[in-house]
């Protein structure tokens, strides 16, 4: 079953009077439970692709379908439930809410949908990632690895069907990278969620179900890995 589909996605940035094409005519689909890696060199357009897929940005042309809904032209408020319940985000630079402590950051999406079990769910997720003792710390009091683990919990608390991850280990040292990656994959596995991850790490790509390689905004390769 297809949960996510990109149809002829094109993105052009206007800088001054020049049109800079970033993505050109990208189409593919992702099935439920799949782990897709978007690979490519710096500037190949992979992060842009991810923001288009997740509705964080609007394509210049083409459309994005999530679970049979065209989200391309939805308003911000119409997109909100998708972001809250259907998707989870993990960013390279964490993007934790600085005014909330670790636990609160994790709880936040659940609280937004008025989930009465938000504290319980958050606590158990935190325990799962081994951060129980850091729950009251604020983002600026956490290390990079800890931040990313909090971000991971936050992405998962509403049991989203799709997780978008943008270079989740990009700002971490190798030890932390490995740990985060393992956690992410394990959790995905447990929940059966779809994972779309942008990375330029071949090692990570190797663990994915499928890798799409972008070069200068176009799909130049697609590779399925053995399960």
């Amino acid at each position: 079953m297809t949960v996510l589909e990109a149809q002829n996605l094109t993105k052009t940035y206007a800088i001054g009077d020049r049109q800079i094409p970033v993505l050109g005519d990208v189409s593919f689909s992702v099935s439920a439970g799949e782990f897709l890696v978007v690979a490519g060199a710096s500037g190949s357009g992979k992060t842009t692709l991810l923001t288009l897929l997740s509705g964080l940005d609007r394509p210049t042309a083409g459309s994005v379908w999530i679970e049979g809904t065209d989200i391309t032209h939805l308003s911000e408020d119409e997109l909100a439930p998708f972001r809250n319940e259907t998707m989870g985000f993990v960013f390279q630079s964490f993007h934790l809410v600085p005014s909330l402590n670790a636990l609160e950051n994790v709880m936040f999406p659940a609280e937004l949908r008025k989930d009465p079990d938000a504290p319980k769910k958050a606590a158990s997720l935190m325990e799962r990632v081994g951060l129980s003792d850091r729950r009251d710390n604020f983002p600026h009091q956490l290390s990079g690895g800890e931040k990313q683990r909090v971000a991971l919990c936050r992405a998962l608390i509403n049991d989203p069907r799709i997780i978008f991850a943008d270079e989740p280990t990009g700002n971490l040292d190798s030890e932390n990278s490995a740990a985060i990656l393992k956690l992410m994959l394990d959790l995905r596995e447990e929940r059966g969620a779809t994972l779309v991850m942008v990375t330029h790490s071949p090692e990570i790509a190797a663990t994915a179900d499928r890798t799409i390689t972008l070069t200068d905004g176009r799909i130049t390769g697609e590779q399925r890995h053995a399960a």
């Binding site: 923001t51 964080l56 609007r58 972001r83 960013f91 993007h95 809410v97 600085p98 609280e111 936050r154």
Partner: protein, 832 residues
């Protein structure tokens, strides 16, 4: 080598905060230039008025004929061309109508032909005064004609001479604003002096010699020389500068208040400058970090930002000077009539220069800290997203100390009274400290507040986001608003005090020495029954058997217990009175005579309920116990009494006269006076119409001026709000984006931000209201000595307007993010 393109970029891309910064600089300079320029104009016109009021530069005055040496000294000055002189004699005399059957006490004035040196005597006919006042002529005030039933052309007997009334005097430049003149003015020509035969041994005459000196004369030196030959204690030598006048005292108060507003505006603008610059540089932090990462030295960065600040400051300064210049030029139009029309329009370059120097100093001082912080930005900030922590090192304290000194100096210099200046500085420091403490306490309390609902909880959390300057914002806003509200409240109270002092129905005719059995007759003649105040003259002999030390009391500068007091009796409080101690004027538990005292008496000598006061009432010793202490609003011109006895007491039988004050239409005053004087010749009427009208008019115009200058402070306050809200825009936008990414709808984001701004606005407004109410009360009651009203409605409105403004500005700063895709912001965060 300055990098001009870098500077240019920073200038063009600084946006709102740069605009706020420039406006703050402009505002501080406009205010200084305008206030100082205005003060200059007023002072000049005052001095000129003072000269007109005395009609000369130097005034010699005595109750006895001027002594030979003094006259000789004056004559010497005249001979050597150092001064012109004119003699003036003033005295009361009973003048009679031509038939000799009607008589009236008149205030005679005989002046030499050079009179007046300054200003002019205006006659009803419009003719020239000296050409009318020829030998045999009399020029009189209108009430004389009314009361004697005479008209121009009729004969008037003054002393031994029979003169002809030639004209009516409408305005006399040196007729002092005096409540006590017992009769209308009659001018007589100097050449008729001997013919009157009124100046002789046994006459009581005020002798004057006025001197007019050429421009640039050292008046004080000349006056000192004359003083050295004057008979001490008998002859007074004054210059128009030193002669005290009530009007001058009033204007001094007014200019003081204006100077305060100027300083407040400067302070507010300074806060605005600092807050805008801090925000502006914070937005540039990443740029600066990048410049540093590329090898730009701290000196390069600071040097260039000083240039940026300097250019922005220069733009503000030029704008300020241009506006200040325009304002000075427009001043006579704006405040039409307050400044004399014929005051030569000289733009006060001194005021402009002062404004410039002070403005630049203020910019430099307030810009120092934000600029200094640039040094703390590490190149690593390019990578880290959090901003550098604010450490308070030596430079911080140095800058704070410099600012403090600057303001202390400013205040001392502007207020020209060190004692008040120091109090003022201490007050402001206390105000800021108090705001800071209160803000900290409130925030600490809020932090502990357990909230279940997500949006309010999130809003509260937002206040404490790391690196967020919520407390600083609240302190800045709170202190600024406190100042602003205080100005507003004081001005409102001042205005109300004046309105209360001179309401449309303020009495204009006072009758004194009415005898108790005449009140019914007076009411009948007046056609109304005014309130009659019994007056019993008395002296205080002792308090609790301790004799009043008359010598010591008289040495006191102000009111003292040794003087004659007017007692009265009644059982009710007057409209402007209230109880300070005791529940009612009199008590049941005191035997014998009791007396309620005014707090003014207690100020002179501590007294408590039950103390025994011994009076000498018209030669009869009387002892009474203090039953209560009253206070009164001191701004009204209503009669008041220090000591009030019960209506039904011994005092009722004491010799007394009765006093009343009524309002009579202007054209009926002479007639009314006549009617009363005809039937009750013992009653003296005092007409204060003109004095009050003039004064009320001036007061009204001044309040317009104060409002105008308050506007500057208001503008500075708004700029501070804009700037402090803009300063947190970055953090808010970030949060808005996160909320959206996590699936929040715009309503949630709006709710959170509205609540957050609401909390900031509410705390600031509440603090400001609390402090300004206290401050305005202290200024009103302690400094200006007027009654204080809190104006709760207007205060709440101000508070609400503030909150609304904070919320609106806050929202407008974050609204744009709601409709846009979050990536725009995320990209700024991660790429670039």
């Amino acid at each position: 080598m300055p990098h001009s393109r870098f500077i240019f970029r920073q200038l063009t891309r600084s946006g709102n905060q740069a605009a706020v910064f420039v406006l703050c600089v402009t505002l501080s300079i406009v205010t200084l230039v305008a206030v100082n320029g205005f003060g200059d104009s007023i002072s000049r016109s005052l001095l000129r008025d003072a000269r007109t009021l005395h009609s000369g530069d130097i005034i010699l005055h005595a109750h006895t004929p001027l002594s030979r040496p003094l006259l000789d000294a004056a004559a010497d000055l005249e001979r050597s061309g150092k001064a012109q002189t004119v003699r003036i004699y003033e005295f009361y005399s009973v003048v009679r109508s031509g038939m000799g059957d009607d008589s009236l006490l008149a205030d005679i004035k005989i002046a030499g032909p050079a009179y007046p040196f300054y200003g002019r005597v205006t006659l009803a006919s419009g003719r020239d005064f000296q050409s009318v006042l020829t030998p045999g002529a009399a020029v009189v005030e209108r009430p004389l004609l009314d009361r004697m039933g005479l008209s121009v052309g009729d004969p008037l007997k003054v002393g031994e001479a029979t003169l002809t009334i030639r004209d009516v005097v409408v305005h006399e430049p040196d007729r002092p604003v005096s409540f006590l003149s017992f009769g209308p003015r009659v001018f007589v020509a100097m050449s008729d002096l001997d013919k009157l035969d009124l100046l002789k041994r046994g006459s009581r005459v005020r002798h004057y010699l006025l001197l007019k000196t050429p421009e640039g004369t050292d008046l004080e030196r000349m006056a000192d020389r004359l003083r050295s030959v004057a008979v001490p204690g008998q002859e007074r030598v004054e210059t128009y500068r030193t002669a005290r006048s009530r009007i001058k005292g009033f204007f001094d108060n007014f200019l003081f208040f204006l100077a305060l507003i100027g300083i407040f505006t400067l302070l507010l603008s300074g806060i605005g400058i600092q807050s805008a610059l801090t925000a502006l540089l914070k937005e540039k932090e990443r740029t600066i970090a990048a410049v540093k990462a590329m090898g730009g030295t701290g000196r390069f960065v600071i040097g260039h930002y000083i240039a940026v600040v300097g250019i922005l400051g220069a733009i503000g300064t030029v704008l300020g000077l241009v506006l200040g210049f325009a304002l000075q030029w427009a001043m006579p139009t704006l405040f039409g009539g307050l400044l004399p029309d014929d005051l030569p329009l000289t733009l006060s370059f001194r005021a402009m220069l002062e404004g410039l120097v002070l403005g630049v100093m203020a910019v430099a001082l307030f810009a120092f800290l934000p600029l200094h912080r640039l040094r703390e930005i590490k190149p690593g900030a390019v990578f880290r997203k959090e901003s550098a922590g604010r450490r308070r090192g030596l430079p911080f304290y140095l800058a704070a100390a410099a600012l403090f000194l600057f303001f202390t100096a400013m205040v001392l210099w502007q207020l020209e009274d060190p004692r008040i200046g120091i109090w003022f500085v201490l007050g402001i420091s206390g105000l800021i400290l108090l705001t800071a403490l209160a803000a900290a306490a409130i925030l600490a309390g809020l932090r502990r507040l357990p909230l279940r609902a997500l949006a309010p909880r999130q809003a509260l959390r937002g206040l404490f986001r790391p690196g967020n300057a919520t407390r600083a914002t609240i302190v800045t806003l709170g202190a600024a608003l406190a100042v602003l509200f205080s100005i507003f409240l004081v001005e409102k109270n001042l205005d109300a005090a004046f309105v209360r002092s001179y309401p449309a129905d303020a009495p204009n005719l006072f009758f004194i020495d009415i005898q108790p059995d005449q009140t019914a007759g007076v009411s009948e003649l007046l056609g109304t029954a005014p309130r009659y105040y019994p007056v019993i003259r008395s002296r205080l002999l002792s308090v609790n058997d301790e004799k009043i030390d008359r010598e010591r009391e008289r040495k006191r500068r102000r009111d003292n217990l040794a003087r004659t007091f007017n007692l009265t009796y009644r059982d009710y409080l007057l409209d402007d009175e209230s109880m300070l101690e005791g529940n009612s004027l009199f008590r049941d538990d005191i035997d014998g005579l009791q007396v309620s005292v005014l707090d003014t008496v207690v100020d002179m000598r501590p007294m408590a309920i039950g103390d025994r006061l011994e009076f000498n009432i018209q030669g009869v010793p009387v002892t009474a116990a203090v039953s209560s202490i009253r206070t009164r609003t001191k701004e009204s011109i209503k009669p008041f009494f220090y000591f009030v006895f019960p209506e039904d007491s011994l005092l009722k039988h004491a010799p007394q006269s009765i006093f009343t004050a009524v309002r009579v239409p202007k054209d009926k005053i002479g007639e009314t006076q006549n009617r009363i004087a005809d039937r009750f010749p013992n009653i003296t009427a005092i007409d204060v119409t003109q004095a009050i009208a003039d004064f009320a008019d001036i007061v009204h115009r001044l309040s317009v001026v104060v409002r105008f200058f308050t506007l500057f402070s208001l503008l500075a306050g708004v700029l501070i709000i804009v700037s402090s809200v803009l300063a947190t825009r970055f953090a808010r936008t970030q949060e808005a984006v996160y909320f959206k990414v996590l699936g929040a709808k715009s309503r949630f984001v709006l709710t959170v931000f509205t609540l957050e701004n609401l909390i900031i606005g509410l705390i600031s407004a509440a603090l400001a209201l609390a402090i300004s109410q206290t401050g305005a009360w202290i200024i009103s009651v302690r400094v200006l000595d007027i009654a204080y009203r809190p104006y709760p409605g207007a205060s709440l409105l101000m508070g609400a307007a503030t909150v609304l403004l904070v919320v609106a500005v806050g929202l407008s700063a974050s609204l744009s993010i709601l409709k846009q895709r979050p990536v725009i912001f995320l990209r700024e965060q991660t790429e670039e």
